[in-house]
């Protein structure tokens, strides 16, 4: 556990140095430092984080967004002539291995059947999917935390009403209610779609937060704060929420991963993002029958969905390990 980068407490006595060699000294760290340290040492999570950042960077810088132009010279709506059967020109096998060299070419991911550049289309799909997933994740987490915290802190009638409402919402399968909402709001743009789906994905977190709050509110420090006349809002925000921030962050991450797949499924069924805009699920839905003739139309969006969902899941796993107080061992 001895690490030269962590600040040591001044000159080290001989006995402590001997203990240090055996790895027995305990370096004082704050909770946040320990969590950060454990997270940054979690190799899968770091890999996921880097991969996700790269994908986001690629998607938003290549074709640009919201009037900011990107470095890729084609867009995802212009129709062009289909060259070479729309085959992808991307090549990653270098010439000395017998390939045609590493280059992007004119249409790295090929073209679709009306000649739109498939790289630009896929990047647009990645942008849309990630935007929706993050909106869903944030909205769901905020509502879930609010409902759970209110129910757990106030108990009594407030709790009864809120938790019965949660029970009702949990009864409706997520895909079903999301499809019904998507049918109505799918053509109002992705922000609205993300918001309405977020409105129905908070139920599990609300139950979790309520459970944690029920235990926390009996603790002495909450009692003390209440005795000092602290307002309920301040107790919840300042005293209790920081204690369960781990649960919330982990759940938010996993909610984003689930939302990526949910959006893809909705768009695949035709209840998500609509024409003329696109998303990864919609691309797969459009070109599933083209698989045997032009498989790249199917492979590229699929690989991006999996890459994004996998990275986010790994980040969530790393966060869970990092926030787990029982885990005093650093995985290395």
């Amino acid at each position: 556990m001895s690490d030269p980068t962590t600040p040591g407490p001044g000159p080290v006595p001989a006995a402590a140095a001997a203990a240090d060699v055996q790895g027995m000294t305990v370096v004082a760290r704050t909770q946040a430092q320990m969590v950060r340290r454990r997270f940054f040492r979690h190799r899968a999570a770091m890999g996921g984080l880097i991969a996700l950042l790269l994908i986001v960077l690629l998607a938003f810088s290549s074709i640009g967004f919201a009037n900011v132009p990107g470095w890729w010279d084609k867009d995802y709506w212009s129709i062009a002539t289909v060259e070479n059967g729309g085959r992808p020109t991307l090549s990653v096998i270098p010439t000395w291995l017998g390939g045609s060299g590493v280059h992007l070419g004119e249409h790295p991911f090929g073209q679709d059947n009306v000649g739109k550049d498939y790289f630009a289309l896929t990047m647009r799909g990645v942008q849309q999917s990630i935007t929706i997933a993050f909106i869903v994740g944030i909205v769901g987490t905020v509502i879930g935390t609010l409902v759970g915290a209110t129910a757990g802190y106030f108990r009594g009638r407030v709790e009864a009403v809120l938790m019965r409402f949660t029970d009702v919402m949990i009864t409706i399968p997520l895909l079903v209610v999301a499809a019904v909402l998507g049918r109505r709001y799918g053509d109002s743009g992705i922000v609205v779609l993300g918001l309405v789906i977020g409105l129905v994905t908070w139920t599990n977190l609300a139950r979790l937060v309520r459970g944690e709050f029920l235990a926390l509110r009996e603790k002495e420090f909450v009692e003390a704060a209440r005795a000092a006349g602290t307002s309920a809002r301040r107790i919840i925000v300042k005293h209790m929420l920081p204690n369960i921030i781990g649960v919330i962050i982990v759940s938010a991450t996993l909610a984003v991963a689930a939302a990526i797949l949910l959006e893809a499924a909705l768009s695949f069924l035709g209840f998500g993002v609509r024409d003329p805009d696109t998303s990864l699920g919609r691309l797969i839905s459009l070109y599933q029958s083209a698989f045997s003739t032009r498989p790249w139309l199917f492979w590229f969006p699929g690989v991006f969905i999996i890459a994004i969902a996998l990275s986010v899941n790994f980040i969530g796993d790393g966060l869970r390990d990092a926030f787990d107080p029982r885990q005093n061992r650093v995985r290395d």
């Binding site: 109505r184 797949l261 969905i305 996998l310």
Partner: protein, 510 residues
């Protein structure tokens, strides 16, 4: 306990009521059911619109329309008091009739898949928990994450292409080139090497044995044209049945006393004898005969266990029955594969199907029709299993690890109990308590149909009914679908709570 259950039932009822109300308003808001008529150019447009308004009661505001719907739906819950009436679809079909057809399709599709995913997932989860931080554990963990992140429709399209179209092409000339056999042998060797960990010599021997066995078997099967007309044959059945006897004995009793093993072996032996004795009966049986035979198998197993069990009578009965049923399943599979040749001819070589539940207008012997169903089921089943398998593995693993760290497990080990007893009796049972909740949720989810799987594979189950109705803006089928899905969710949620309270007395007391 009774008070607990009664209270739970009443609460569940009101939750379902509220959920249908919410869902009704959402559905009514989802789109305009008159949209297609208003855009049409039919001469009698006004009359059509008028008729549909009357059919769907569109002149009543949605919150009030809910009560009209509820009055009809109440009949489905209390069938003798009122008439069951879930309204009509826009084409005027009775929703309850539509639901009945779709529900049977869904049941056929999902039950086998869910049970399979549970068994596989729980087994793998336990094994990875027992071998924590081993190569196997890391491999399974990574695969579980990968499966979590797979969009099921994407997997389904891949399965259709490689599992059905290309596989059927390959069946036209089913030979395995020697290179492919070697590669698959290496893969299998690596797999077993990871599963059976140990020191270097043991790993190398495992790898070599698995490589030779798999590559050799593939080569042999290819040379003998087995893939053109597959079957198990009596030798394979016998060897597998004996292996099964040892496996069940190891699980339920261990080998300290031999009585259990003898009972299981006897049960396997009876099964193999039946392979010959029942030859004529099994030529073209009815489903009834199969069920009867299964019952007879159970009875024979109980008898053998009772007679040979000695002091371990209960375990002997369990082992004998399990082995008997396993052997029966092998015989069934063998017969099913026996129909392969004729079936393949009748569907002109396209054995693995990509669409639908059955070949239209297909009629044949019991085994041919069974094979027809099986080949239609196999791809969607794989797709469903892949996705839910991951969840079960992860949950079982963490639950099992939690239990294995408990004091009572340490006590059991320190008093010198064999590892089998510790794992099966002390750890496994307690680890299963939280999994029951997951199972209940999963079954509830499954009854509402595998929406995406049904769409990709063209099964006309509940999920397809739902998406089709939603696309057409047809509120009554959507509500009928939700009545089943919501009722399943509420009922299984309730069952999970009750089972939890039953299995873990601490819940009841608090």
């Amino acid at each position: 306990m009774l008070v607990f259950i009664v209270r739970r039932v009443i609460v569940s009822f009101f939750i379902l009521l509220a959920a249908t109300f919410v869902m009704y308003l959402l559905t009514a808001n989802a789109g305009n059911p008159l949209g297609d008529l208003q855009e049409s150019r039919a001469p009698n447009r006004e009359a059509l619109i008028e008729a549909r308004i009357r059919l769907l009661n569109l002149d009543t505001p949605a919150p009030l329309r809910y009560f009209i719907w509820l009055k009809g739906a109440a009949g489905c819950l209390a069938p003798f008091v009122f008439e069951c009436d879930l309204g009509q679809s826009v084409q005027g079909q009775d929703v309850s009739a539509l639901l009945g057809v779709a529900f049977t399709q869904t049941l056929q599709l999902v039950i086998a898949a869910t049970v399979l995913a549970m068994i596989l997932g729980i087994t793998v989860g336990i094994v990875t928990a027992l071998r924590q931080y081993s190569g196997l554990d890391y491999t399974v963990t990574f695969s579980a994450f990968l499966f979590f992140s797979l969009p099921i429709f994407w997997v389904a399209v891949l399965l259709k292409e490689y599992g059905a179209i290309r596989f059927n092409d390959w069946l036209g000339d089913p030979t395995v080139p020697i290179g492919v056999a070697v590669v698959l042998g290496v893969v299998s060797g690596l797999f077993w090497m990871i599963v059976i960990s140990g020191d270097r010599t043991r790993r190398l021997t495992t790898f070599a044995a698995a490589f030779v066995a798999s590559a050799g078997a593939l080569w042999l099967l290819s040379e003998t044209q087995w893939f053109a007309d597959p079957g198990l044959g009596v030798v394979v059945i016998a060897v597998t049945a004996v292996g099964l006897a040892f496996l069940t004995t190891a699980l339920v009793a261990g080998f300290t006393y031999r009585n259990v093993l003898y009972a299981a072996l006897a049960s396997a032996g009876v099964g193999i004898v039946c392979h010959f004795a029942l030859d004529s009966v099994l030529d073209d049986p009815s489903a009834m005969i199969i069920v009867l035979l299964a019952l007879v198998t159970v009875a024979v197993g109980v008898g053998l266990g009772y007679a040979l069990g000695g002091l371990q009578r209960r375990q002997a009965i369990q082992a004998a029955v399990l082995t008997g049923l396993g052997t029966g399943a092998l015989l069934f599979l063998d017969r099913l594969l026996g129909a392969w040749d004729t079936y393949s001819d009748r569907v002109s070589g396209r054995v693995i199907a990509t669409i639908g539940a059955r070949t239209p207008n297909f009629q044949g012997t019991f085994w041919e029709e069974g094979l027809d169903r099986a080949t239609h089921l196999i791809l969607p089943t794989i797709a469903i299993v892949l996705i839910s398998f991951a969840t079960y593995t992860r949950y079982t693993r963490s639950s099992m690890l939690e239990v294995l760290n408990q004091d009572y497990v340490r006590t059991a080990r320190s008093k010198g109990l064999a590892e089998r007893g510790v794992v099966v009796k002390h750890a496994f049972r307690n680890a299963m308590i939280p999994i029951t909740t997951l199972m209940a949720f999963d079954f509830a989810g499954v009854l509402s149909g595998a929406v995406i799987t049904e769409n990709v594979f063209g099964w006309t189950g509940l999920g397809k009914l739902f998406t089709d109705a939603l696309t057409r803006v047809d509120p009554n089928p959507v509500m009928g679908f939700f009545l089943i899905a919501g009722a399943a969710a509420v009922v299984f949620n309730m069952l999970a709570d009750i089972a939890y309270a039953f299995l873990d007395p601490r819940i009841r007391l608090s």
